[in-house]
């Protein structure tokens, strides 16, 4: 239903302890944005490709397509960084525009490249996590690190309800579309609004039904569920430590 969600259940890294995967993600991500090292970022991009595609067995073409997703944001916002309007030309490039220049410095060009590469490396960390770890596993770790109960309970329910509502929204959309509800912009906007309100009403109904069902199973103010415990493997933790040490060395070692 949601591609990333469907894929993460098929990943061969799924059964590794979620704590290890989250540790790896958070530490690598931090090193990436603290150091802003281009070499480090390239190293991270490569290793995440290996982890996600080669070991995790997520399709390579699909993975590359996903990595391209944030590019629109990247291009638009780095373009804004690169282009200055000034009376004085900067040392990178300058295009005359009447009495002004469209201009940028060499340094900003370097900064832009640095930003793009390190951002993409960070995105690859996020994908590593979301393409290998089901949301329920992440919630389990959040609970372990003392995230407030009410929050983790809400997350558990919201994750389930998202799919319920998507299913309803899609069914509504299909039925509207089959009656030509989106034939032009005006009808389309009105149909979309109608779908929104119908979805809201159905979600209220569902919330009542599900609460009754929870009560019927003895709910009394606390959602307690079992997690399928996965074991922490010292070997893997060791590998993460070694990996991060190497990454720090690379990141420190220059650009």
């Amino acid at each position: 239903m949601i591609a990333i969600d469907a894929l993460c259940y098929q990943s061969r890294l799924r059964n590794i302890h979620p704590g290890e995967k989250m540790l790896y993600t958070v530490v690598t991500l931090s090193i990436c944005i603290i150091s802003r090292s281009i070499l480090g970022a390239l190293f991270v991009l490569g290793s995440n490709y290996i982890l996600t595609v080669v070991i995790g067995r997520i399709g390579g073409a699909r993975y590359l397509k996903m990595m391209m997703a944030p590019v629109v944001f990247l291009l638009l916002s780095t373009a804004a960084l690169l282009v200055n309007v000034s009376r004085q030309p900067l040392d990178g490039y300058a295009i005359t525009l009447g009495s002004f220049y469209l201009t940028g410095s060499k340094e900003s060009l370097f900064l832009a490249v640095q930003l793009i590469v390190t951002s993409l490396a960070s995105v690859s960390c996020l994908y590593f996590l979301s393409l290998s770890t089901p949301m329920t596993d992440m919630i389990y770790i959040l609970e372990k690190i003392y995230c407030p109960r009410l929050l983790t309970e809400l997350m558990l329910l919201i994750y389930r309800f998202i799919f319920l509502l998507i299913e309803i929204a899609s069914a509504i959309y299909i039925s509207q579309n089959s009656r030509l509800g989106y034939r032009n912009l005006k009808r389309g906007i009105s149909s979309f609004g109608q779908m929104g309100s119908a979805l809201f009403i159905q979600s209220l109904k569902k919330s009542r039904h599900i609460y009754a069902a929870m009560e019927a199973r003895g709910y009394h103010g606390e959602i307690r569920v079992l997690y399928e415990e996965k074991s922490i493997r010292l070997k893997e933790v060791g590998a993460i430590i070694i990996y991060e040490s190497i990454l720090i060395l690379i990141a420190k070692g220059g650009i």
């Binding site: 009656r179 030509l180 109608q194």
Partner: protein, 282 residues
């Protein structure tokens, strides 16, 4: 069997993203004008996918769908034409009824067809009258009973005056009274010359109602034939996980016990069987 062909599928295949197996695989079939067709098969056998193809919501990867002999044109205009002629009544009315009032709800499709408010009004009034919706026309849609919602969701489609109506398990979750009512509406559609295609799990109903039954399994068409043929082929029924209709089972017992002749016609409904039993007496 020489009525005009309304819908024809030639080698339709359809695979959903994130799925390894196709939802429709090389589906070929023909549907003639005014026929009553039951589509049967387990959940996941491709019935709903086929319906969505007929209406142009899904575009098949392979194969061609013909409407009145013309391959379907997937341009915006072509789709509009197709959707104005082929309507789908979805299984769950809650996902179809979106407007606050019954009147508004039924007018949705006509207005989308581009009719003026006056013309739309006329059509809506007529459909409401015809399908006995007038008594509850002023109630908000969410206050209707399950059966009434179903009636409105059928009127939703009929108001667009389609040639073909596809219904996805029209009696799921209805009680006996409303089931009967829906079956009556379906009967009226056929009487008005509309081609009706119903996806159903109810073998007894399919056996007695349908002119032809299409049996599907894992995205393929296993058979398309008259009920008497379909429901006496044990192998086919087993393969498609279908029960034998009660009427046919009882008939078989009666034939084995020599109460009915082995060559007697296969009864399609319990009324047919009653006739057979009465005839035997004479």
């Amino acid at each position: 069997m020489d009525k005009e062909i309304v819908l024809e599928a030639k080698g339709l295949s359809c695979t959903y993203e994130m799925s390894d197996t196709p939802s429709l695989e090389n589906v070929s079939l023909t549907i003639r004008k005014g026929q009553k067709i039951a589509v049967m098969g387990a959940n996941g056998s491709g019935k709903s996918t086929f319906f969505l193809c007929c209406n142009g919501i899904l575009k098949p990867e392979k194969g061609v769908l013909f409407f009145h002999g013309q391959p379907v044109d997937y341009s915006k205009k072509g789709l509009q034409r197709l959707r104005s002629k082929v309507g789908i009544v979805f299984q769950n009315p809650d996902n179809q009824l979106l407007s606050a009032s019954v009147y508004q709800e039924i007018s949705f499709g006509v207005l989308n067809l581009g009719f003026s408010k006056e013309e739309a009004k006329e059509r809506v009034e007529q459909v409401m009258e015809e399908f006995s919706i007038t008594p509850f026309r002023n109630r908000p849609t969410h206050a209707l009973s399950g059966g009434e919602k179903k009636q409105v969701s059928i009127a939703d489609i009929l108001v667009m005056e389609p040639e073909v109506v596809l219904m996805d398990e029209p009696t799921a979750a209805l009680d006996p009274k409303h089931t009967k009512l829906v079956y009556q509406v379906i009967e009226e559609l056929s009487e008005n010359g509309i081609t009706v295609i119903v996806a159903t799990h109810d073998v007894d109903y399919a056996c007695q109602w349908a002119d032809e039954i299409i049996v599907m399994e894992k995205g393929r068409v296993l058979a398309q034939d008259v009920p008497q043929k379909i429901f006496t082929s044990r192998e086919l029924l087993k393969k498609a996980n279908l029960e034998i209709p009660m009427v046919i089972r009882v008939t078989q017992y009666l034939q084995e016990a020599d109460i009915l002749e082995k060559e007697s016609t296969v009864p399609r409904s319990i009324e047919d069987l009653e006739e057979l039993i009465k005839e035997r007496r004479r």
